[in-house]
Amino acid sequence: MPNLMSGSQMLLECLMREGVECVFGYPGGVMLPLYDEMYEHPLRHVLVRHEENAAFAASGYAMATGKVGVCMATSGPGATNLVTGLVNALMDSIPIVAITGQVPTKLIGSDAFQEADTFGISRACTKHNYLIKSIADLPRIVHEAFYLASTGRRGPVLIDVPKDVLQSQAHYSPVSAIHLPGYKVYTAGHAGQIRRAAQMIWDAERPFVYAGGGIIASGAHEELKRLVELVDTPAVCTLMGLGGLPSSHRNFISMPGMHGSYAANMGMTKSDLLIALGVRFDDRVTGRLAAFAPHAKVIHVDIDPSEISKNRTADLPIVGDAKRVLQRLIKALEDLAPEAAGRKAEARRAWWQQIRAWQTEHPLAPEISSTEIKPQHVMVEIDRLSGGEAIVCADVGQHQMWAAQFIRFNRPRLWINSGGLGSMGFGLPAAIGAQFACPDKLVFAVIGDGGFQMSIPELATIASHGLPVKIVVVNNGYLGMVRQWQHLFYNNRLCAVTLDCFPRAESLAAAYGFPGRTVDSPADLRPALEQAVSEPGPFLLDIKVSPEENVYPMVPAGGAIHEMILRPPQPVSVPK
């Protein structure tokens, strides 16, 4: 005998069946029937202080666990406030489901109070979206949404639910199958292509692994390590892929791209075979495409067929899930190994010598001073406390690049940042999501003073739940990355980048009822961070760093990645 349920009850039942433990949300008029049902429901609801942060927190939760993050908002302004978080999740392939309230179906299109065309607005912000017109469709749509968010190339899915659908009643029966005939998920990869890839890899003289967020999404980190060791090839992880290969691994050559290491960018430029795994040849990685890896053949493994040959033509495309494909590729490599492994030994030795020479020539070395706190110094100290094991949620800007350069990640899902969209205000709410997902882990929110001031309302969420997030504000009093570009490319005509009147950290934190501390001398840096970590609850550190520090190396936008600015302006060009 099926149960008679309201739309609200049915929605919660479906969430429970999807294994959802916690949702991040903000209520409002049309969502009242759902929130009323949550009054005595075991599902945990975390009240954020702005809807955008609900989407970011759900994303932090999803990135820390690999599970689907869930956020909720009301109709109209609630839904429109989700937009940035949805686009961020779309760009970084983060599995989240957003549930928005909508005005009753009869009022849709009448400019009703708090009405917005959420279905239309979110079309371009999501992998897929739904407007539920009848309670009969509700269970199917909710389960489809979770399936779409968490399979194939992950991404955000939005469900818009009118108030009357939440209130109406129907008999509930569980959904037994998902039927989406037009939704193709490619997993295993083409056997022939995989065999050819193995041959190409053994035949290469200067192979180079370029691994990205796809490694993290598919949980292919063990396979990546095995591949890199089996073939003994240098490897880089992109900004989204950090932790895919342990940062302390001897074959790891740091991050490539605009602020990547010299060895990473030179390695790609001189390589004769790029093994691209779960990456999308983003412009921040490739620089000027025409000059990117000019000598390399490209093996491109990606789950999304539309990524293949989008930016760089793949010589050997493999459409599939990174983990499955790598498992089979490793097998194919092992099968060929007895006769193929030593074939290019001489060239491979020379390749490694060259890589090591580049690393020694221009290492990624942090700036450290005894008179002022260099921002890189902050990262080195965080790295010391983390030991490659803490979760670090970064915001967007200079500090994000320094964190990516100097904090090591020995596991996947520790480095959480906004890569593709580069959305300021991401770091603090993402840390909230990550800390809810991993209550026993040390979570740092490493944020610039700009992004922090976009997220201040969430200090209340942190305080209210006593979340032990360690908030580290890397404070240079500027919108640092914008200042850096104005400095380098606009004759230092600094316009609208000065952030004065930063609140005193001690007072601000105290106002929310937790400790804070301002640090302005290098000698205090380590003790202050240690104090923050030893506190059982949240802690706010405002670290006044040298204000005019720039991120190097740097590839100017549109430049070739081997033409890096390694130090304050003196372009280094290496002949091909």
Binding site: G19, R123, H128, A177, P181, Y183, D304, I308, S309
Partner: protein
Amino acid sequence: MLQTISLLVENKPGALMRITGVLSARGYNIDSLTVARTLDPALSRMTIVVDVDPQLRQQVIKQMNKLVNVLQAIDLTEQPAVAREMLLMRVRAPMESRTAILKEAEIFGARVVDSSIDGFALELTGDPEKLEEFIDIMRAYGDIDVTRSGMVAVSLEPRKLRLSPPVPKADPVLEDPIRKGA
């Protein structure tokens, strides 16, 4: 360069918006678009003619195939295909030119679908070039009003349609220790 895209799509709200979104997001202007249901009323066939940079044609097709509501998107631009368009035209025809207009219509194979003292309504089907020629000629006879259907096309090669089968829904509740205990 004009690209002809043929799509088989689920007949669902928002499907059209998703497909045109792939084009409008890149600032491409749609030359013509037709949609109608297929033998299976749950599906629609769509023909889009759009001006796309030649090197991006493949990417556009891939992006469309990625949409959940799209069962198949194919590029017919350089494939064996038949493309036709229909035109309805109202032409003002004073007594002295009526015979000449009917003669031109006959040459082009246009049918007269309405006749009045003021003039004719004509219907013509053909490839777009033929329609253009007809319009040019009829202009010489005076004021005309034209409504074109946009191009419909059919591939001359059978296309294998690959659809995803239903995926059984695993019920995580059963594996979840917290709820199992409850």
